[in-house]
Amino acid sequence: MPVDIKNFLTHFFVTGYPLIYGADASIILATVAILFVLTYFKKWKWLWTEWLTTVDHKKIGIMYLIAALLMMFRGGVDAILMRTQLMLPNMHFLGPQHYNEIFTTHGTLMILFVAMPFIFALFNIVVPLQIGARDVAFPYLNAISFWLFFFAALLLNLSFVIGGSPDAGWSSYPPLAGAEFDKGPGENYYLLSLQITGIGSMATGINFLVTILKMRAPGLTLMRLPLFTWSVVGACILIIVSFPALTAALALLLIDRVAGAHFFTMLAGGMPMMYVNLFWIWGHPEVYIVVLPAFGVFSEVVATFSKKRIFGYTSMVASIMVITVISYFVWVHHFFTMGAGPGVNSFFALATMAIAIPTGVKVFNWLFTMYRGRIRITAPMLWTLGFIPNFAIGGATGVLLAVAPADYQYHNSYFLIAHFHQVLIGGTIYGMLAGMYYWWPKMFGHRLSEGLAKHAFWWFNLGFYICFMPQYALGLMGMTRRIYTYPKGLGWGPYNFIATVGAYMMAIGFVLIVANVVYSAFYGERDTTGDIWDARTLEWSLPSPAPHYNFAVIPHVDRRDAWWVMKQERKEGKTTLDLQQEPIRPIHMPNNSGRPFILGVCFFTVGFGFAFSWYALVVLGFLAVAVLLLVRSFEYEDSHYIPVEEIKETEAAYGRL
């Protein structure tokens, strides 16, 4: 009996790696510390009523942002571990199994639990404010989306101390990821956590598309929509059309694994290539889902800090839409070498290259927005400027990869690694950071320190080139991705060493970003105007941070860059577009609810049960979900009105009445 328990425990908890014991210890310490602080300062109630049960899109956005930064830390530590292992030939820092687990978690985390929550953070924080709305279309659903994402992230992160991490790569192709070659619960964790967060993402896509289409302020026609919001439209359409493919792929693979089906097993008449297709039918649009909002951020930032209208607005909108459509027709470029005929490969090569055209157009339009403007190089602008050369190069290497016969050489090599990091980091992450610096005052009422921000940028940006430029060379030297070690004598050592130095520099940059967040909370310049950058769109017409009902009176819009126009007209003594034109009326707002959080816990239970094939837990979790849905359907009073006095009081406190 004791032997049994011991056996169970050593399989249940991951044992044998000193690094993981360290992680165990730090997880326990951090948890204890958090519990202590909350209890000591009597913050439990505050946490529950203000945050865990909130349906306020601004708070949900902030929670997404915090989660994204935390996950970026975890993914970053993984990256540093991998780069350390590869620093020299024949290193013995990480073993093969450990290395495989780390790169799998790293990739999965970065795409699904960093890039996605980061864009959702900005969707939530910005979109309703930018379109003059008081909320998103489905606030309760929005909270559910967040908690599904949050608990899915928890599930994936738990795997590395309980049961073992997935180890078949973030794309997890069968048969490697099938039950025959991959027994452990790690792969189940991967499938479940992606599935759960996928439901949340799908809901977010629908939520924001409806919000933008239905809840714009009067007069805000589509062709007056700020470009960030336009990019959200593109991203949401892509989410809605591509996530079902992921859902199908994951579900079929899960059924293969836990129920012994053979959708993807050649041996029993299944077809692994079908998984690869389904995965990339989602996977390619996914990279545009996360980069389009970054494009949107750059458009806002460039216009604001050049004090100029965005150049070629119509072209910008057109290119977002063209990208949205074409990116759905290129997925085969991820497996040109899987034996499709030359006709198929040619079609997908051409479609892929075509994407570079609208992307290039956007770059020129950003440049010409700055042209004849007055450029202020603030932190958001710095990341935007850093992005341009990155994307010029990363886009170009994308075109190189799209040349099918050339891709027979680049594919699966470090050249590919360099490309997608250049566009994902240099595009998405730079964009999200630019957005974070830009809208930080709107979120918290103070700005981040410029000095620290500049240091962080230069460490990160230089580190980026030092880390990833050598990897293009390594690819041409024949180094393949996902190897945990390489022999001497191929000349790969020096470049890998340089790359590792670059990775450490980026880590310093990240630490400086986090330090800035902490430092500025105490010493950051307070924003009393609500319009600290002298910006152009409606969110800047509100105080910082915005009151929970956003707009006391919904603004009327009759031009692009509505807030800028209002300010110009005010200067000229005309106030046709002012805010206080109409009387204040009671505002209809949704009630807080603890159910979205509990729903997240239930899905977590289901996922955990599936991971270990403990079906009692699965059934229990699903039952609880059903009960929660039932309770919700009998809820008749889920909203309230904010009385006029309260609104007036709040507005007066901001000095706006």
Binding site: M266, G339, G360, G373, I466, M469, M477, R482
Partner: protein, 292 residues
Amino acid sequence: MKRLWSRLSVLLLFTMPLLLTGCGERYFVLNSAGPVARVERNLIYTSIALTLIVVIPVIVLMFYIIHRFRDKPGNDAPYEPQWSENKTLEIVWWGIPIVIIGILGTLTVRDTFRLVRPPANVTGKPLTVQVTSLNWKWLFQYPEQNIATVNYCAIPTNRPVRFILTSNAPMNSFWVPQLGGQEYTMPGMAMRLWLQADHPGKYFGSGANFSGRGYAHMKFNVVAKPEGGFQQWVNQVKSSAPALTVSGYHDLTKDSVMKETAYSSFPPGSFERIVRQEGGMYMKHKLTEATD
């Protein structure tokens, strides 16, 4: 601005060696040793040249614009906050990429079709080598010579080699950069890849698609020898190496990392059997397509 330049020069310092050593012999992809790799390399150079037509102006223009339109006291550059449309300019930058992609696309399609046929300058009858990726090793079988090797493979120079690829383990990818691009190996399927070497030599090859714990060690050499040398090698293997038996093959399928090995014979039809048993029975046309 000055700080920016000093930082940029650091950056250049780091990237220069990469550009300058681009033709070093360790850059396997650029250092092609056969007609297939050469087609690919030429396309690589052409595509780099074509994309640079956009990349360089963008970067130069960016630095110029930042420099010229910085918001600093006394900057006399024109400021036109309302200027946001210019049809001609926009036609130019929709047009140029379209032309570039048009050219590149044409070349791409031409070479994509070209590479499914045997290399152009065929001097002899193609040699067939059947390749199987196993956990974690490569098995090469020569159906005409009836010999087999593990983790290395000899081929004659100046003769097209038809590799027929499959896997008896998770999917992998067969890549010999100096001779030409890669192709996936998949259980139950037989894929075809044409390669050819110009001169004798040892060419680095590796598995390129992740396949588990021993994946990093799936490297092999392709040894190209003149026709005579190749025949000699075949005879030598035939006379000196042990035979690959059914149970010997069974041992190969177990998880392990192995050294270079040769076998004087193998059970006839064993490659076709591997493909069929791993699911090929569901895809007959694929097998015949690749082997005929």
